[in-house]
């Protein structure tokens, strides 16, 4: 009798958890979780300023912003290579500021694989916003008319920030390939990351004119590749059948 009662308690508990598990995917992207990740990154940035690596990252961000601002201030068409290099510095600096964590520790935390994957995507979104903020600042300092400002923001800045933020989370371990157990890890990561970076730089550096169809086509392709890559990385972090000791 007592065992039956305990079985039913256990079943109810399991049903409740299964029910919760079904909507857990969406819960991982709730505003509360997003803000919590932001707070976590803020603590990490604050702490990282006490370390040589963190200070180096901070200097890179500042140097990138100053260099970029000098290049764009009052200009209508800044040198795209210089601007891209300045933005790379900013992206690298942010990556150094917010990636202090030891990846092995993440595997020991009480989170599921999907939560772990969502955690990385949320971090990526924050880095995306930070880089986009800097790019918007650059665009605002340029001598651009409103339509050109918006065109640059939507066709250049957003996909470029996306690609840079993807690159920062792609360094997390499960994405790295392993010769030991290669068959268990999907072999696409490097190809996908190279594709993202090549496409974003191509999009950033090609500027044919406001009405040029080429600009629009490249930007659409860039958006598509970025969205595909985010989905791919989420799937890979969350669903790849690989354990830490196999990496």
């Amino acid at each position: 009798m007592r065992e039956n009662r305990i079985d039913s308690v256990s079943n109810i508990e399991n049903n409740r958890r299964n029910e919760a598990g079904r909507c857990a995917g969406w819960k991982n992207f709730s505003p509360a979780k997003f803000l919590s990740t932001g707070q976590e990154m803020l603590v990490e940035i604050r702490a990282s300023l006490y370390t040589a690596r963190g200070r180096m990252g901070f200097v890179l961000v500042l140097a990138g912003i100053i260099w970029g601002l000098n290049e764009v201030r009052g200009r209508e068409e800044p040198e795209p290579f210089v601007l891209a290099a300045a933005l790379m510095w900013v992206a690298m600096g942010f990556a150094m500021l917010v990636t202090l964590e030891n990846n092995k520790l993440l595997y020991l935390l009480p989170v599921t694989r999907k939560e772990f994957a969502a955690m990385q995507i949320r971090r990526m979104m924050w880095i995306f916003l930070m880089i986009l903020g800097v790019m918007t600042l650059f665009l605002a300092c340029m001598n651009l008319k409103a339509p050109l400002f918006w065109k640059n923001l939507f066709l250049k800045a957003i996909p470029f920030s996306g690609a840079m933020s993807i690159y920062t989370i792609a360094a997390i371990k499960p994405v790295k390939e392993s010769p030991q157990t290669g068959k268990k890890i999907y072999q696409l990561s490097n190809v996908v990351i190279i594709l993202v970076l090549v496409c974003c730089f191509l999009n950033f550096l090609v500027f044919e004119g406001f009405w040029s169809i080429l600009d629009w086509i490249i930007a659409v392709i860039d958006y598509g590749i970025n969205i595909f890559t985010v989905g791919y990385l989420y799937w890979k972090f969350g669903c790849a059948d690989v354990y830490y000791d196999e990496i």
């Binding site: 702490a47 020991l108 935390l109 030991q180 196999e246």
Partner: protein, 291 residues
């Protein structure tokens, strides 16, 4: 946690491994491990280097694939719900898991959020008790302080099971004694400790049960009284030990007598041979050594 779930959990062993096996790549590193740990128990895991102790701990905390059997923490399957199982575990490793470029206080604050029962106040209080400088960068901590920091963090989320994989390696004897006393103090009816170590003398003083692994297989998993009951060190002449041949697991010749390890199976051995309780080091020598 509800009262009914508490009642349900209280009937489960804290840790249960049934035919557990782990593999890395295509190679099995551990197989057929059967182990049960009751609440409030201090269990030592012994074995030679490369015997499979670390793989056992990796399997328990989800770093290695459980390719055979299952691991259950309070009845929850590690295979199916690793996140829930890890909520109940505190981990202390000799490895660099926690080596971050963060101060102890911030590292605990950031990672404590992932535990349902974590309390930063409790962490700070344990740090004060263990004399850990919370402003110090974790990467720059001494070995002893790093261990104490990990213990404070583990205790701050009120784990049911604490896993320790050779945390005392490279520590001085005074600290090792302090460490064992600390562990003994934290042990209560709600928390158990699984402790892999080469310090068999310390285990003899503190452990309630011992599991031995050798070449990726479990040799035994027994309580200390069971070990005493089942194994005996016998000393006597060659003829006397020849008479015990069917009980002997191993023997070696000393200068004036012969010594061997007997498995008594609860029965009595002849009174004329000298008998004593085996030390864990002797068990390891006879069960896993070569003479």
């Amino acid at each position: 946690m509800g009262r009914k779930e508490t009642e349900f959990n209280s009937l489960q062993p804290l840790l249960q491994i049934e035919h557990g096996g782990a593999e890395r790549g295509d190679t099995f590193w551990l197989r057929e491990v059967n182990l049960t740990l009751e609440p409030g128990t201090f269990m030592g895991v012994i074995g030679r280097n490369g015997a499979g102790k670390t793989t056992l701990f990796h399997m328990l905390c989800g770093l290695s694939r459980i390719s055979q059997g299952d691991v259950r923490i309070e009845g929850i399957s590690m295979k199916q719900e690793p996140g829930r199982c890890r909520q109940k575990m505190g981990m202390i490793f000799d490895d660099e898991y926690f080596r971050l470029d963060l101060s102890a206080k911030y590292a605990a604050k950031v990672y404590g959020k992932y535990y349902e029962n974590y309390s930063q106040e409790a962490f700070l209080s344990y740090c004060r008790k263990f004399e850990v400088d919370i402003r110090q960068n974790v990467r720059k901590m001494s070995k002893g302080n790093y261990m104490k920091f990990q213990l404070a963090f583990a205790l701050a989320h009120h784990p049911r099971l604490i896993l320790m994989d050779e945390p005392e390696a490279g520590l001085d004897p005074v600290f090792r004694r302090e460490w064992m006393n600390m562990l003994y103090d934290i042990l209560d009816d709600s928390c158990s400790i699984l402790f892999a170590t080469h310090l068999t003398e310390e285990l003899e003083q503190y452990a309630d049960a011992v599991t031995m692994v050798s070449q990726g297989r479990q040799v035994f998993s027994l309580t200390m009284p069971e070990i005493e009951e089942q194994y005996r060190i016998v000393r006597g002449s060659k003829e006397q030990l020849d008479c015990l041949k069917k009980h002997l697991i191993g023997r070696r010749r000393m200068e004036y007598y012969e010594e061997g390890l007997c498995r008594t199976e609860g029965g009595e051995l002849p009174a004329e041979v000298s008998q004593s309780r085996p030390a864990l080091a002797q068990l390891m020598e006879y069960l896993d050594g070569k003479f």
